[in-house]
């Protein structure tokens, strides 16, 4: 029954078959583990059976826009990997509908369907809920957008390639303070979202370290789009900058309305702002927005340039950070599989944990002893409708 289900799922359009023909005969249970070891190392590694990989993304519901970006990133990476000899991947992308129950169910299904590794889920809260299932079953997980503290503490099978807010924000605040001589700021954040709330905490800590006074903390809801009352309130404190922890949906109207109300001070944001839509939708209002982020979209490293080009060619749009991290994620998985030339769960787990100085879209990438990502973060500022690095 299970094998049948897998076959059906593999036949669905959401499934990308990287092998010319999915063998579909990897039965349930532990039997598969042994077959997934191959010969050779790195580029010469050859594994007979396709390597099944599951991805749990939020393709519908509140987080659909991130999930969709991630889907694009993963599919692009999968396409590129398919052209490489030796190892074939069978990537199944599933939708958790931004619902914890679906996330848990999907992890459960992937674990029993014997995937080598699970990518995702999109949201940190979902990761805290679902990752323990993989941990208990001994299935490695690679988070590609989980930034909350404690996700990798769930266990030694849980990894992520997404820098936490606390790895990005102190640098951002330090740079901005230096650049704009910040003394007094207003902090605004949506307090009903785990990502933005933890971003706020990181901002608070960093501001305190830099000795910047917080004149006021203003909260809103992630579904809010009219910020005029809040901005009017913020304006009264006459801050040197607005520090905002928000997702892109809120960032665009917030930035537009701030400028409209005559707030011309810099607006400082975190990972949530690192999205080309900011410039596309907020237009001129986005000028001067400072964004601390895990991915330097304007980086000229060859991997990044190739990624930007390939992404534009395939989707006719610019990628955002979610796409970049997702793309990098699958590439890192390939790296890990090839380094040990085995798609065993244990082998992948070992190899992922040992990744060091891998050249990626995100820069030189390593996994540290806590299974968190280590790579350069970047502070960008919007200039002439483009992100440029704030030096």
């Amino acid at each position: 029954m299970r094998a049948q289900l897998t076959t059906l799922a593999a036949a669905s359009a959401a499934t990308i078959l990287l092998a010319a023909c999915g063998s579909g005969e990897e039965g349930g249970g532990s039997a598969a583990s042994g077959e997934r070891a191959g010969e050779g190392t790195g580029d010469s590694c050859t594994i007979e059976a396709p390597v099944p990989i599951g991805a749990v993304l939020s393709l519908t519901g509140a987080a659909a826009s991130y999930g969709e970006s991630q889907q694009k990133g993963l599919e692009l990476a999968a396409e590129e990997l398919a052209e490489k000899e030796g190892v074939t991947y069978e990537l199944t992308i599933e939708d958790d509908q931004t619902d914890p129950r679906q996330g848990i169910t999907l992890f459960d299904e992937f674990v029993t369907s014997d995937v080598s590794l699970i990518i995702g889920p999109t949201l940190s809260n979902a990761a805290v809920q679902a990752d323990p299932i993989a941990q208990e079953a001994g299935v490695p997980v690679l988070g590609i957008s989980n930034t909350a503290a404690g996700v990798t503490e769930i266990g030694d099978y849980i990894h992520r390639n997404s820098l936490t807010e606390s790895a990005v924000i102190p640098q951002t605040i330090a740079k901005a303070t230096e650049e704009y001589g910040l003394e007094k700021v207003v902090v605004m954040y949506s307090n009903d979202d785990a990502f933005t709330e933890s971003g706020f905490e990181a901002f608070s800590g960093a501001l305190e370290d830099e000795g910047v006074e917080v004149a006021e903390e203003i909260t809103f809801s992630k579904a809010d789009t009219d910020f005029r009352a809040l901005l009017t309130q913020a304006k009264e404190s006459q801050p040197d900058a607005l520090v905002v922890s928000a997702l892109i949906e809120a960032a665009i109207p917030l930035v537009t309305q701030a400028r409209e109300l005559g707030i011309d001070v810099p607006i400082i944001g975190g990972n949530g702002f690192n999205n080309p839509r900011l410039m596309a939708d907020a237009g001129d209002a986005a000028e001067g927005v400072v964004v601390g982020a895990a991915w330097n979209s304007s980086s000229d490293n060859p991997e990044n340039q190739a990624f930007l080009e390939a992404f534009e060619a395939k989707y006719d749009a610019q990628p955002d950070q979610f796409a970049a991290q997702a793309y990098t994620g699958l590439k890192l998985v390939d790296e890990a599989v090839r380094s040990g030339c085995s798609a065993d769960r244990e082998a992948i787990k070992e190899a992922l944990g040992g990744l060091e100085n891998v050249p990626t879209v995100l820069g030189e990438f390593s996994i540290d002893e806590n299974r968190d990502a280590v790579h350069p973060a970047v502070v960008q500022v919007v200039q002439d409708g483009k992100f440029t690095v704030l030096e």
């Binding site: 669905s12 393709l59 169910t105 299904e109």
Partner: protein, 611 residues
């Protein structure tokens, strides 16, 4: 096989428990969206207060958490319920929704809940535990279904006013239903928390509440298995879509919504309506079991002795925005009397009986009915003093069977059985049996014994009127008020009704009835009161009234219903059995239910405890 689907099956159980918290109030006709709030407070309180599994072990930790959660949920329901129980329909829904949203915002802003990042909770719940909890909850509602309490809730759902008039304390019952919902929602919150490992206030938002409501309604909110079916449906739809290979993305929510729409449009009553429903019939062990065995399980009532004052009205008046519907009425009704209230449309008859039965408070004057003071006494108290009534426009409990309608009518004289039914105590069974027999007797008395299993709304008009009378009789009243019981009946039916009323009076029942069929009134009543423009213009024996020139001028003169006038002038008085003999034969064949003729005619021998 089962273990492979452990996760979805656990969510089926959890979803069903949450849906039961909606079912708990939907069954009483209340639409509440506050359950997500109850679940939220309960889950967070339990997670924060319950001891860890290291201290007491897994199962005790969960049980303690459940106890805390259900208590907190129930308390929250009391706090919210007390001020909001007077709200109805959408108003209640929005008020409770406002509460749930406020809870969510407060929890988001609280330190101890971890805000949006949530509170970590150990996973203790297993598939078996979830289904055990579900079984307990389902059992609760199953046993509630056919208890006196369960019937009262259904009656409130179908027609609140009629339920009140049957002596049901609607406020208390609604609050009880609400608190049950709070406790069940609390249970859900805790179980959910102890399964998903991390709870955030947003897990209990508006969308969650709506989903709970959808689950309950899709499953069916009138049948205890409904929530389970609904949850199975809602949980399995995504599973099936995945299994069938529907592409992940927009098409899945689209299909799920479409399916939901189809179910709701084409299955009135939800998925549960697909299940065959057993209609309950009285066990007809003894055809006429008036041997006292059955009655001993019913509460007995002390009826006023013949000639004692049943109702005393002094200068009673009612004014609606300057219009005097009723003014200055002095009237005394004594036990054993059959008082007919006649008068042209708009004369204030219904307003008067509404005041007597406690539905409408008088604006001047006062009245005492069976020892209670009208105006300050809630309707159900008036009813429990021994007043029972029918309504001008039938107010039956439409989705209940005829028998169930009458069972609700017997609310006041039957005993509460729910808690004893939970424990399967034989005494509950005996009490239910007694109530059933009593209801069956009342149905037989009005000639509806064969229609016991038929939904009230499916009965013919005349049968509905008779069912209302049976329902009113079931409470063993001292004063029976009938508001136009013969409206829409033909001669034969009216004559039978007249016979029935007189036989009831013969048993010592005091009857006050409004009727337009003057002939019938004159032949049935011992006394007739004529109202016009809110005032009594005449009162006396039928003979006196028929001869009263004031009545003829003020009332009969304006009446253009020729046959009525005719019947007074000639036949009816002389022939108290009613109607033209020529008309009776053909009508009887066509209009009377088979068997009904035989049961309605003989005077009922049910002993009444008249003292």
């Amino acid at each position: 096989m089962l273990l492979e689907y452990a996760t979805p099956l656990t969510f089926v159980a959890l979803g069903a428990i949450f849906a039961y918290s909606f079912y708990a109030v939907l069954i009483a006709g209340q639409l509440s969206l506050g359950q997500a709030g109850f679940a939220s407070v309960a889950a967070f309180s339990a997670a924060a207060l319950a001891p860890g599994r290291e201290e007491v072990g897994e199962v005790p930790a969960l049980l303690i958490a459940v106890a805390i959660g259900m208590t907190v949920g129930a308390l929250a329901a009391v706090v919210l319920g007390l001020p909001t129980m007077h709200l109805r329909g959408v108003f209640l829904a929005i008020a409770t929704l406002g509460f749930a949203e406020a809870v969510r915002v407060v929890l988001l802003n609280s330190e101890w809940t971890g805000g949006a990042q949530g509170l970590a909770v150990p996973r203790i719940l297993t598939l078996g535990m979830a289904w055990t909890a579900l079984a307990v909850v389902a059992y609760w509602f199953w046993r509630m279904g056919r208890s006196r309490y369960g019937r009262a809730l259904e009656a409130i759902r179908e027609d609140e006013l009629a339920a009140r008039s049957m002596g049901i304390d609607v406020g208390r019952h609604r609050l009880a239903a609400f608190v049950t919902a709070g406790a069940v929602a609390g249970l859900y919150g805790v179980l959910f928390a102890y399964y998903v490992r991390l709870i955030a206030p947003n897990d209990f938002d508006f969308a969650a509440a709506v989903e709970g409501l959808v689950t309950a309604v899709v499953g069916g909110s009138t049948m205890f298995l409904g929530p389970l079916l609904g949850s199975g449906f809602q949980t399995m739809v995504p599973e099936i879509q995945r299994a069938v290979g529907v592409e992940a993305g927009w098409i899945r929510p689209f299909l799920a919504s479409l399916l939901l729409l189809v179910v709701i449009l084409f299955l009135p009553g939800g998925l549960a309506s697909l299940l065959p429903r057993r209609t309950r019939m009285p066990a007809s062990s003894g055809k006429d079991d008036e041997d006292g065995d059955g009655r001993s399980h019913l509460a007995t009532r002390r009826h006023p002795g013949a000639g004692e004052t049943v109702a005393a009205l002094t200068a009673l008046g009612k004014e609606y925005g300057g219009v005097h519907a009723v003014r200055n009425i002095d009237l005394e009704v004594r036990a054993g009397e059959v008082v007919g209230l006649i008068g042209p449309n708009g004369a204030g008859k219904t307003t008067l009986v509404n005041m007597i039965s406690g539905l409408v408070p008088p604006s001047s004057g006062g009245a005492t009915v069976l020892g209670v003071t009208i105006g300050r006494t809630p309707v159900h108290k008036v009813a429990s003093a021994g007043v029972s009534r029918t309504f001008q426009h039938s107010k039956l409990f439409n989705r209940l069977s005829a028998l169930e309608n009458v069972l609700v009518g017997g609310h006041l004289v039957s005993r509460p059985t729910f808690l004893r039914r939970l424990l399967w105590l034989p005494s509950a069974r005996r009490d239910e049996q007694a109530a059933l027999e009593q209801a069956a007797r009342c149905l037989r008395r009005v000639g509806l014994a064969d229609s016991a299993g038929i939904r009230a709304s499916a009965l013919s008009y005349g049968d509905q009127r008779r069912l209302e009378i049976a329902r009113a009789l079931a409470s063993d009243p001292s004063l029976l008020i009938l508001d136009e019981p013969a409206a829409g009946m033909n001669h034969v039916e009216a004559a039978k009704l007249s016979t029935l009323i007189r036989s009831l009076a013969a048993d010592g029942l005091t009857i006050l009835f409004i009727e337009h069929n003057v002939g019938m009134v004159l032949e049935t009543c011992t006394r007739v009161v004529v109202l016009n423009f809110g005032e009594v213009i005449a009162s006396g024996t039928p003979e006196e009234i028929a001869a009263d020139p004031a009545v003829i001028e003020a009332y009969l003169g304006t009446e253009d219903d020729e046959p009525v006038t005719g019947s007074i002038a000639e036949g009816t008085l002389a022939d108290p059995t009613g109607g033209d003999p020529d008309d009776v034969a053909p009508d009887a064949v066509i209009n009377v239910h088979p068997g009904a003729a035989g049961t309605l005619d003989p005077p009922d021998t049910t002993p009444r405890n008249a003292t």
